[in-house]
Each structure stands twice: as structure tokens, then as C-alpha cells.
């Protein structure tokens, strides 16, 4: 992929399409779960069929009210949220939200969240039996009511069991992605466990736990006390996680997520080993971001002489070439 001085970079035609665990996406840039609802609200700002995929807000078996407000605090280059997985429940989701996405020609990646293995299994069956699902993303950053409320994602064994419960109900052709939490000492054993359990790819990472204190009320600022930190503030953390997982298992499809704001940021994740990226919190700032980031990525790739996102996946892991330039 060396670029000679005679090559005009403007001539490089970039095809942004990627293959993600067997699913073809027109671009490697998708929404992140919890930052796009079920896609419909973003339709005024972008074409949901033209972006990589719409990853829907994690849906649970039953309707959920979510937590009390305040649910959000702005932090430097990021935010804390404690929404509490407010949602309509799987019945309503499958009856209205999913059909809308499918009718619009979007690739629907359905995120599911359970409080027990039985719930994960039931959600896997329900979503797996629904037409038009491009992939299932398993949110395992939920407390396990059967394990003293410990979060599935923080224990390789329980994380694997949750993914396995989902995998059994989802048809073979529909990839199951496990979304990993960065709040562990070592991400690799969790990644190994969920892959062993049948995950086809990994979404790296979920939010990391944070807390903000309101210095006027002298109390925690969020109704839920702690919250998930997201946004560009966590991008280096996310890139590090993608790097470590890719290094340990270079053939596993990874979706990088955490603070992607620009095409340059997306490129950084690809170089670290991600095959695709998700844009989350930045959508709140710029609802057209999933489209914009893809176009910026196209320009970033073209400027470096690459014709496909696949050409750069994991490239940063290669030893530095003598002489310096990439290639």
C-alpha cells in the first residue's frame, strides 16, 4: 500500500463498504446503542439506509421506566448518563420499531439487555425469530439478579453464559455481537469467553462508570448516583481496549466505539484493529454525525491512498517500517 510520489491521491476511489461478521455494510460507521433510540428520530438528519447500521437502544423483555432525573451531566468532552434502560419492552419494539427500520432499508442491529440468563435467552429467541435483523448486539453491562447484582460483563464466566443464552435463539446467519465493558482489569479473558460462547464479533467498549457531584446541592449530580461516562473523553480508553483485544485475537471482528467524533477518530479505531465503528454521544451534538463521519473517513482514507476501510484494519500493530512512511 505504499504511495509513490507519482500517484495522485485524488484519484483514489474509496469504497466504504465493509463486511462485518458476514454482514455487508455500506459504510463502517453505525450508530451506538442508546444514542439513536430506534433510528426514527434521526431520519430528519440522515438517511438511515445509507449509514452502516442502526444499533437500537438496548431493549429488555418488559417495558422499563428508567431512572429518576437528573439522568445526565455534561463533563469535559463527554457526559455521564444514568438512563436506566428506559424502553418499551420487546413486544412493542418488535411490533413498531423494528418494522420501521426494516421498511426504510436500514440494517437493524438490535441491542438486547437482560437481568437474568432466562431473559437473555428469551430475548435471543424473540429477536432471532424476527425478520430483517442484521445482527444482535448483546448488552452485558447489566446487573445479574441471579448473581448478587454483579454485572455480567465483569465476569468472563457469566458474560459467556449470557452470550450463549442469546446465541442459541438466534439463527446461524445472524451475527451475535457482544458489547464489552471497559470496567475490568483485563478485557481479553472476557472477550475469549464470549467468543467461546458463540459471539461472532465484539463491540468495544460500553461506557465506563463515573460520578459527578453537584457542588451547589452538595450531592451526586445524577439521580442514579453513578453513571456511564461517554464521549471523546473516553476515546483513548476505547482505542486502548480495541488495541488489546485485536492484539490477542487479530481475526475477530471488532466494532470500535467510544468518543468517535470525526473521520480521523474512526480511522484511529480501524488502525487499532476495529473493522467498523459506532458513533454515540457525538450524535447528541451532531445528529448527522454517522453520515458525516463516514464521509470524513472516506477523505482520510483517500488522502492516504487506501481504497477500502479493510486495508487499514489493525495496521497500527505492524512494526514501524524502516524509513518511516506507512506502507
Amino acid at each position: 500500500m505504499a504511495v509513490t510520489s507519482e500517484t495522485s491521491l485524488d484519484d483514489v476511489v474509496v469504497d466504504l463498504a465493509v463486511d462485518l461478521a458476514g454482514v455487508r455494510l455500506p459504510t463502517p460507521v453505525m450508530t451506538a446503542s442508546g444514542c439513536a433510540a430506534a433510528g426514527r428520530e434521526l431520519a430528519p438528519f440522515l438517511d438511515v439506509a445509507a449509514i452502516g447500521a442502526v444499533v437500537t437502544k438496548s431493549v429488555m423483555l418488559d417495558p422499563r421506566s428508567g431512572r429518576a432525573t437528573p439522568r445526565m451531566v455534561e463533563t469535559p468532552s463527554g457526559m455521564l448518563n444514568s438512563i436506566g434502560l428506559q424502553g418499551p419492552g420487546i413486544d412493542s419494539f418488535l411490533a413498531t420499531d423494528l418494522p420501521w427500520l426494516v421498511s426504510r432499508g436500514a440494517r437493524a442491529v438490535v441491542s438486547i439487555a437482560g437481568g437474568s440468563l432466562g431473559e437473555y435467552a428469551e430475548l435471543g429467541r424473540r429477536v432471532g425469530a424476527s425478520p430483517g435483523v442484521a445482527a444482535v448486539e448483546v448488552n452485558i453491562s447489566c446487573p445479574n439478579v441471579e448473581d448478587r447484582g454483579l454485572v455480567f460483563a465483569c465476569d468472563p464466566f457469566q458474560a459467556g453464559r449470557a452470550v450463549s443464552a442469546v446465541r442459541r435463539g438466534v439463527p446461524r446467519g445472524v451475527p451475535v455481537l457482544a458489547k464489552l465493558s471497559p470496567d475490568v482489569t483485563d478485557l481479553v479473558p472476557v472477550a475469549e469467553a464470549v467468543l467461546e460462547a458463540g459471539a461472532d464479533g465484539l463491540t468495544v467498549i460500553n461506557t465506563t462508570l463515573g460520578l459527578a457531584i453537584d457542588t451547589d446541592t452538595l450531592r451526586p449530580a445524577l439521580g442514579g448516583t453513578t453513571g456511564g461516562l461517554s464521549g471523546p473523553a473516553i476515546r483513548p480508553l476505547a482505542v486502548r481496549c480495541v488495541w488489546q483485544v485485536h492484539q490477542a485475537m487479530p481475526d475477530v471482528p471488532i466494532i470500535g466505539v467510544g468518543g468517535v467524533r470525526t473521520g480521523r477518530d474512526a480511522l484511529e479505531f480501524l488502525l487499532a484493529g476495529a473493522s467498523a465503528v459506532q458513533v454515540g454521544t457525538v450524535v447528541f451534538h451532531d445528529p448527522s454525525a454517522p453520515h458525516r463521519v463516514a464521509e470524513e473517513l472516506r477523505a482520510e482514507l483517500a488522502a492516504r491512498g487506501f481504497s477500502s476501510p479493510a486495508d487499514v484494519v489493525g495496521l497500527a500493530h505492524r512494526p514501524p517500517a524502516p524509513g518511516g512512511a506507512h506502507g
Binding site: 433510540a37 432525573t69 468532552s77 436506566g84 447489566c142 447528541f284 451532531d286
Partner: protein, 288 residues
């Protein structure tokens, strides 16, 4: 009229200090044409690489579909933090990313009925275009504008043009009737025979206005101010408990299902909580 919000690069046409507030006029092509009274816009603050990611929401004071510079939207802001300080510090021609119009506007009465419009502080901003609409429909319009102190009132002179009658209240008595808007509201409702009360202002005021309206058997339309991250319905942060047509209480988004709600449908006492019986409320202990 075209439906749906737009995202446009707005440009600052003017920015003026008004009492404790700032009156910002943005050229925002396409947004004004779609804006109805009660709708709001969400502005990105701090520029493209801003460390402040969340949009700031402002109800639209005035929207003018056409002008020398194209459609404009005007809003009134108070400096509360770094984001609003950034906005208040803009210069003519600076760019501001605008998303709007957003939210459900005020519902207008089908009949020609007397209406009372209540504004708390700069919450009065969206009431002037509403007053124009109501008068166009043959409704009589009466306004009550209240604030803690005089410099926190907004639009008292304009109110005299927009409404048949105006009452101003200040808690310190620096101007108008000493006290709160709800001190004068019951008598005004009786005197005018009002059929609808429209209100915009702090939550505490809305709650009190809704209660007075309820006592008088008058419809109320309250524009709430909940903190939002996105303004477009995807972040789920701006929720409050509202009873639906089916009697079920749900945590609803004030950005897409509001900001205007029927006052008798909001569980004002429970704002900031998830009241028992809300759809999907935790039944036992607080699992995630």
C-alpha cells in the same frame, strides 16, 4: 408547511442585552418557516471541537420566514453556565449550528375563546408569537408576566401590544403587583372567563399555574423546561411523568412529546422521580 426539524449552519444577525437576558437573532434558513409557537431550537455550543457536547435548548421567541437575510429565529437566553456564556459572547456573523424546530407546539383552541398567557422570567419569550396566533383566530388574549425582580422580566412592553390586558408581578414588588403570577391568576381567570391558560416558565410556576387552572376548570398548556442532551428524542434524559389518554403514567420525553403538555396530565409533584405505578417502574428493589 414542511414538517420535521432541520439542521442548519445558523449565523448571528444580532445579539442584544435585555435586562438579565440576551436576545439572539439567528439567520437559520428553513427553520423559521416550520416554526410554530411553543417549538424550540437546540444549539450546539463552543464550536466544532467544543468540549461541551450537549446541545442547549431554547424556545423560539420569534420566527420570521423571510427577510433581507433569509429566515430568522430569535431566542432569549440567560447565562447559566459555560455553554450559554459562549452563546452570549457571539459576534455578528458568527456561525451557530441550529437544529429545529423541535417539539410539540402549543395547541390552539378551535373556538374564539378568551385565553390567559402566563410567563415566568424569560419563559414569556414564546408567548408573544402565540398571542399573535390566538388573536388572528379571534381569541382575546390576556397576559401575566412575573419574575423575582424587574430585571428578570422579559417583554413587558411588547405584552401591551400583544395582549388586551397585561398584569406584571414581581416578588420584590420592584414593579407591578407584588407577589407571584398565581396570586393574580384566579381573579383574572374569573374576570376574563378564560377557557385556556398557556404557561411557560420554571417548573414550580407551571405546577402552580396548572393547579389554579384545574381549580377553575380551565384547560392549561404548559411548556416545560427539562434539561436535555440532544433535543431530538434520542438521549432519553429529559423525561417527566405524564398520564396518557389511557390513564397510564409514563416517563415521556419533553423534547418530542413536549415541551408543551396539558397541565392536568403532568404529575407535577413527582417530577424528578419515577412514581409508583409508572409503566415499567421497578416493582421490587432497584435493579439497574
Amino acid at each position: 408547511m414542511n414538517a420535521g426539524p432541520l439542521q442548519v449552519r445558523g449565523r448571528v444577525l444580532s445579539l442584544e442585552r435585555v435586562g438579565d437576558y440576551h436576545h439572539l437573532t439567528l439567520v437559520a434558513p428553513g427553520v423559521a418557516e416550520r416554526t410554530r409557537p411553543g417549538a424550540f431550537v437546540a444549539l450546539a455550543v463552543g464550536g466544532d471541537q467544543s468540549a461541551m457536547l450537549l446541545r442547549r435548548a431554547f424556545s423560539v421567541y420569534r420566527a420570521k420566514a423571510s427577510g433581507v437575510y433569509g429566515g430568522t429565529v430569535e431566542l432569549v437566553l440567560a447565562v447559566h453556565g459555560k455553554g450559554t456564556a459562549w452563546l452570549a459572547d457571539r459576534r455578528i456573523n458568527d456561525e451557530v449550528d441550529v437544529v429545529g424546530p423541535l417539539g410539540r407546539p402549543f395547541a390552539l383552541p378551535k373556538q374564539q375563546v378568551p385565553c390567559v398567557l402566563v410567563g415566568g422570567g424569560y419563559g414569556s419569550a414564546p408567548l408573544f408569537s402565540l398571542a399573535d396566533r390566538l388573536r388572528e383566530r379571534g381569541c382575546s388574549v390576556h397576559m401575566v408576566l412575573g419574575a423575582a425582580v424587574e430585571r428578570r422580566l422579559f417583554g413587558t412592553l411588547e405584552a401591551r401590544r400583544a395582549a388586551q390586558s397585561v398584569i406584571v408581578t414581581t416578588e420584590d414588588g420592584s414593579v407591578g403587583t407584588p407577589g407571584r403570577v398565581t396570586d393574580v391568576l384566579p381573579e383574572l381567570l374569573t374576570r376574563t372567563g378564560a377557557a385556556v391558560v398557556y404557561a411557560c416558565g420554571p417548573m414550580g410556576m407551571l405546577r402552580a399555574v396548572a393547579a389554579v387552572a384545574e381549580e377553575h376548570g380551565v384547560w392549561s398548556q404548559c411548556a416545560v423546561e427539562e434539561s436535555m442532551a440532544c433535543g431530538v428524542g434520542v438521549c432519553m434524559t429529559c423525561v417527566l411523568p405524564v398520564r396518557g389518554d389511557d390513564g397510564t403514567v409514563r416517563m415521556v420525553r419533553s423534547c418530542v412529546e413536549g415541551p408543551v403538555f396539558r397541565g392536568d396530565r403532568v404529575l407535577w409533584d413527582d417530577v424528578g422521580t419515577v412514581p409508583a405505578g409508572t409503566l415499567g417502574a421497578p416493582s421490587t428493589s432497584g435493579v439497574h
